[in-house]
Assembly symmetry: C2
């Protein structure tokens, strides 16, 4: 591993650089093992300590680009607080040019700003079989290191678009748009029928006004206690679970 | 504000010190305003910048112990990345000596280690009207700064116990114990009838074996997609929402 490798990996902290290179960083034993199992062709380069490599001699034979590094190097390039044996450079998924709304459930994220929340939402969406997520252009970037770690592999299975939400949502024809809000109809009274679009809003401000206006129906998770709000990823999980019941 | 004030506030980062003093730290405009509105008697001392105090002259009249500080001091004592105008020392809620299981729903947390997850679970439990949470002794401390910020006020409304889970759960008599696991009965097929106990397990290892053995029923959130697991707070929210349907 050279100085220029260090600089190169560090540069992938920036969205512009990730897009230019078509690469993002995946870290840690668990995550890289999942990649090796499910998406081996996506791995472009691996940097790992000796013990990690020795434990996987069969698997890693296939890769020309494995770099054995020491822990000190890993610590220099890692985005984790506690670097964990291995780091991989992974090619970004290629997605369709235009999302399709005619099947299934599309999750729309309106200004989700916390990377941990975004990663958790991606993982939750993958649990419930969601295939595409449309993010507002001011939602956190899905391939930034914190989102990648929180999404735990699910990132690879979904198509994630960044688009101007109002122009997209204005052109859905018959497909209903449900927005998660504090003053809507009870989630428990709703019968979901696919295709539909579910909009989850910003962590503190909720769904923005111009998007809320486009809603076919506003839906609310009934509150029995006193909390002021629910975390965005918890709200997404609850609604997705009821929609898939 | 004196040097000893700074040291004193910093010392409340430690659980032992919080318990000795019976105090914890709440920060930020939104959280302290909620306290002033709902739990004014719990506030022992306020440290705020001038503009915060000037905007609340009527409310703050009642308090003898408001200290006007500058931003620099706030930055020195704050546990937040971006300190926000005000910090309050708040007395810990006094709770019953022994939890009661004969009514409602008791949430049990088995080794929840991430403070953000714990805070989010507390907030979610409060949304669904849960009144008591039993934490294993190795669950993160509910009054640590990160949990307090993530729980957003809900911490004040619930009784939170730290106990040896297996000895508690062994003595519940007729009250059913449901554990959230990956290989249980579908959540969607269950009819919840209170009182009952719901156990949420560790972020990566799930419910521990000795607790799982005590389950009346293991329950699973049906998976339609491919994610390996759900975040602990998302899982808690989903099960609580179905239990309150």
């Amino acid at each position: 591993m050279t100085k220029s490798d260090v600089k190169y990996i560090q540069s992938l902290a920036h969205k512009k650089q990730r897009e230019e290179e078509g690469l993002f960083v995946v870290e840690g034993v668990k995550m890289v093992d999942e990649l090796l199992l499910n998406f081996p062709d996506r791995i472009v380069r691996i940097f790992a300590i000796e013990t990690w490599i020795n434990d996987r001699t069969e698997i890693v034979k296939k890769y020309n680009s494995i770099n054995c590094i020491d822990l000190q190097f890993l610590e220099r390039v890692s985005f984790l607080q506690t670097p964990n044996e291995v780091l991989a450079l992974v090619s970004m998924p290629t997605i369709e040019l235009i999302p399709s709304f005619s099947n299934g459930l599309t999750l729309v994220l309106d200004q989700i700003q916390d990377p941990g929340n975004l990663g958790t939402i991606i993982r939750t969406a993958d649990w419930f079989g969601v295939k595409q997520i449309i993010c507002s252009v001011d939602t956190s970037d899905a391939f930034s290191p914190k989102v990648v770690q929180a999404s735990m592999g699910s990132l690879m299975r979904l198509s994630i678009f960044y688009l101007e939400l109002d122009s997209v949502l204005k052109n859905l024809g018959e497909v209903p748009i449900y927005t998660a809000e504090l003053n809507g109809e009870s989630l428990f009274d709703l019968e979901f029928r696919q295709p539909f679009v579910l909009v989850i809003g910003n962590e503190s401000r909720g769904v923005s006004e111009k998007i809320s206006k486009l809603a076919t129906k506003k839906i609310t998770i009934p509150k029995l206690g006193n909390a002021e709000s629910l975390n965005a990823s918890v709200a997404a999980g609850i609604i997705l679970s009821h929609a898939s019941r």
